[in-house]
């Protein structure tokens, strides 16, 4: 699933309820549970989804050496077989399906 950096950035300005268009037919709706940032250069966000069985979306925004933002994160619900990992390729962000054992390990 292709995600624009603008829509990711919008999440970091949400105060409570927020949405993220994953596909034309699927919009993630959730509430911000936690926001942390020791400095301006790294901010992390945790969003609990309301329409995806309470799965958690974790996002981090960090400042790269060229001054641009790098977004990393994942969407997962514990004990489900799969999760979604946010990756960047050639400046474009994607959520890719990943076995959850590579995201949460025992």
């Amino acid at each position: 699933m292709e995600i624009s950096s603008a829509s990711l950035e919008k999440l970091f300005h949400a105060t409570s309820t927020c949405t993220l268009q994953l596909t034309p037919a699927l919009t993630l709706t959730g509430t911000v549970q936690n926001r942390t940032g020791q400095s301006h250069s790294v901010i992390s966000l945790l969003i609990k989804t309301e329409n995806m069985q309470g799965a958690m979306l974790s996002l981090s925004r960090s400042l790269r050496s060229d001054g641009s933002w790098l977004y990393t994160g994942h969407l997962l619900k514990l004990h489900e077989p799969d999760g979604m990992l946010l990756v960047e390729k050639d400046g474009q962000y994607y959520f890719i399906r990943t076995e959850q054992k590579f995201l949460v390990a025992e």
Partner: protein, 317 residues
């Protein structure tokens, strides 16, 4: 309600407070900014991916200072190569860079999660949101050695490591966690496999992501995105030649096995210059020989540590 004399109430308050104060403030390598905080005295966790069902209250272990010190020491030994501080001091954790720290909550049970000796979010060391990893001591029979091994394993996950796995010659996974198999040639197991019953160490091996994916544990821990690096000594990187290091004297060896004399017993690890672990084992007092494989015309780094000290030396071949 019966009233108690003041001095009895005061005594009860004092002893109740001492339960928390029993955790000794330990640091394995205080100069390092990157920090792993071992939590033994309970924690309340909110606002993390673990909180799907709300707040988690982790009970204290109730371990004695001696047990905590032992567990800390065993964990710290596995990270002696790295510019990383293993601490039990919450103040040290609070002052560590938020994107270079993690906490391992060691607590009796993980009923909120399920039957497992521990769980962690892979790569969470750099997330910057204080997501903890967990070690559950009841499934580990409260065995300090098992707890230390499990904690080291979970720390490895937070630093981005996947499991070390075993595959057959056709690439079919035999075991996601290697180290449990019978092997008459070695009594070693990977820390990222099953680290409980054999001498466990960081390894190079096939990871759970696929039979062709070789994971160098040490290189991944030290490298990006953790950017921990290797430990420095007296302002010099340990991989520099330092003949003043006591204990081990390496004879010049342009090729063949590395020959050395040791004044004591040490554990050693041999790396290539990129930090890839080539081999590891034990050095005994006296003359030793280490097989360096096919590494020729290369720069190698031998690191050793033991009860009497530690050191490292670069070897040019």
């Amino acid at each position: 309600m019966k009233k108690h004399p003041f001095h009895i109430v005061f005594f009860l308050l004092l002893t109740a407070g001492s339960t928390v104060a029993q955790v000794p403030a330990l640091n394995s390598y205080a100069p390092a900014p990157a920090t792993v905080y071992l939590v033994f005295d309970g924690a309340t966790v909110e606002g993390t991916l673990w909180n799907e069902k709300g707040k988690i209250v982790a009970e204290p272990t109730g371990f004695s200072p001696a047990t905590i010190t032992y567990i800390h020491k065993k964990i710290a030994e596995h990270f002696i190569l790295f510019n990383l501080n293993i601490t039990t001091d919450p103040a040290v954790y609070e002052h560590a860079p938020i994107h270079q720290r993690t906490r391992i909550i060691i607590t009796p049970n993980g009923n909120w999660y399920g039957p497992a000796p521990g769980v962690s979010a892979v790569g969470s060391f750099v997330w910057g949101d204080d997501t903890p990893a967990w070690v559950f001591t009841d499934p580990l029979s409260n065995n300090p050695l098992f707890i230390a091994a499990a904690a080291t394993h979970e720390i490895g996950h937070t630093l981005g490591l996947q499991h070390q796995s075993l595959y057959d010659p056709y690439g079919i996974m035999i075991s996601e966690l290697s180290g449990g198999e019978n092997n008459i040639f070695t009594n070693e197991a990977p820390l990222m496999g099953i680290p409980f019953y054999k001498q466990a160490n960081w390894t190079n091996g096939t990871s759970s992501t696929g039979p062709r994916n070789i994971q160098s544990d040490t290189a991944l821990i030290a490298g990006e995105p953790n950017e921990i690096g290797y430990r420095k000594k007296s302002g010099r990187v340990e991989t520099e030649i330092n003949l003043s290091d006591p204990g081990v004297k390496i004879e010049t060896q342009p090729s063949g096995p590395i020959e050395l004399n040791s004044t004591g017993d040490y554990t050693y690890r041999l790396f290539d210059i990129s930090g890839r672990l080539l081999t590891q084992g034990n050095i005994k007092k006296g003359w030793n020989q280490i097989q360096a494989g096919s590494a020729a015309n290369a720069v190698l780094v031998l690191q050793w540590y033991g009860e009497t000290g530690s050191g490292s030396q670069k070897i040019l071949r």
